[in-house]
């Protein structure tokens, strides 16, 4: 086969056997699982405590009007804050501990897929030379407008 000029990141394709590729993938999967368990379990634990102490209900009532524009219950604010402030795994831990219906989960998923892990990802984007304000503006406005629109159409 003709060897094409690669503009790629790694040139070590010939150095690795298929087995090594598989085991690297497996290791990185285990590593991710470990990282996410360190996030999901505490989040789940924390929300379970909030639920049984009644704090969640109080918080949810306060935020219900604001979350209502996305068709979400008040406690969903917690999911959005965790997803944007920490990462998607934290948000998933929170979603799993709440009771939300299919429409609500889809709205949360779309909103969070546009805007999540804001601290870490904005830092990454900034390294390329683009302004933080532009990145945040784009992500938050996509998330907010998609939430409002999806609530109206689905």
């Amino acid at each position: 086969m003709k060897i094409r000029k690669s503009n790629g990141t790694n040139n070590n394709r010939n150095k690795k056997t298929f087995k090594e590729t598989l085991s690297n993938g497996f290791k990185s999967g285990l590593n991710t699982t470990w990282i996410l368990s360190k996030i999901i379990i505490p989040v789940y634990f924390f929300i379970t405590i909030l639920k049984y102490t009644g704090i969640l209900k109080w918080f949810s009532l306060k935020l219900a009007p604001a979350m209502g524009i996305f068709g979400l219950p008040g406690e969903a604010a917690l999911v959005l804050v965790l997803g944007n402030g920490i990462n998607i795994y934290a948000a998933i831990g929170a979603v799993a501990s709440l009771t939300l219906n299919g429409k609500q989960i889809t709205i949360i998923a779309v909103m969070l897929s546009f805007s999540h892990s804001l601290f870490t990802e904005t830092a990454v984007a900034k390294k390329t030379g683009i302004s933080v304000a532009i990145v945040l503006f784009i992500r938050l406005s996509l998330a907010i407008s998609s939430g409002i629109i999806l609530n109206l159409v689905i």
């Binding site: 790629g8 991710t32 368990s37 379990i41 979603v95 799993a96 501990s97 989960i105 889809t106």
Partner: protein, 157 residues
Amino acid sequence: MDIISILSEGVINGMKAVFTIAKIVIPLMIAMEILKDYKVIDKISKLLKPISNLLGISKNLTFPLVIGLILGLSYGAGVIIKEAKEGELSKKDLYLLIIFLVACHSVIEDTLLFVAIGANGWFLITIRIIIAIILTVLVSKFIGKYLDEENIKKFTT
């Protein structure tokens, strides 16, 4: 319910949630490793070259685009920084690429994670890609002419 059972409920259900995600993440990471090592992304980005016209970026930049789209923002940004250092990137290219990628990256991983908690994956991935394309095309059409086409040679990282 007493305090012990509340606490253990929290931990046990948390572990169940981790298990659900692990079933997705481990096979996914293996697949990603294969995509990386076997240059599948090179091939995909060659196939997607025509899309660069639509987005208003240079032809050789579909590679960082696809890298970011599949492997994630930090991989994409890494390739973008490399291209910028080599002087192959204009300011317009940089802005359009990053605008696309901040709206839409690691689509496979993110989508599967949300599928694990009950979201509709096809809906999610389609809406995300389409919105990111529309956004980039709009920025390209309306603001593109104000971003200078000169290459960025000097770069601070």
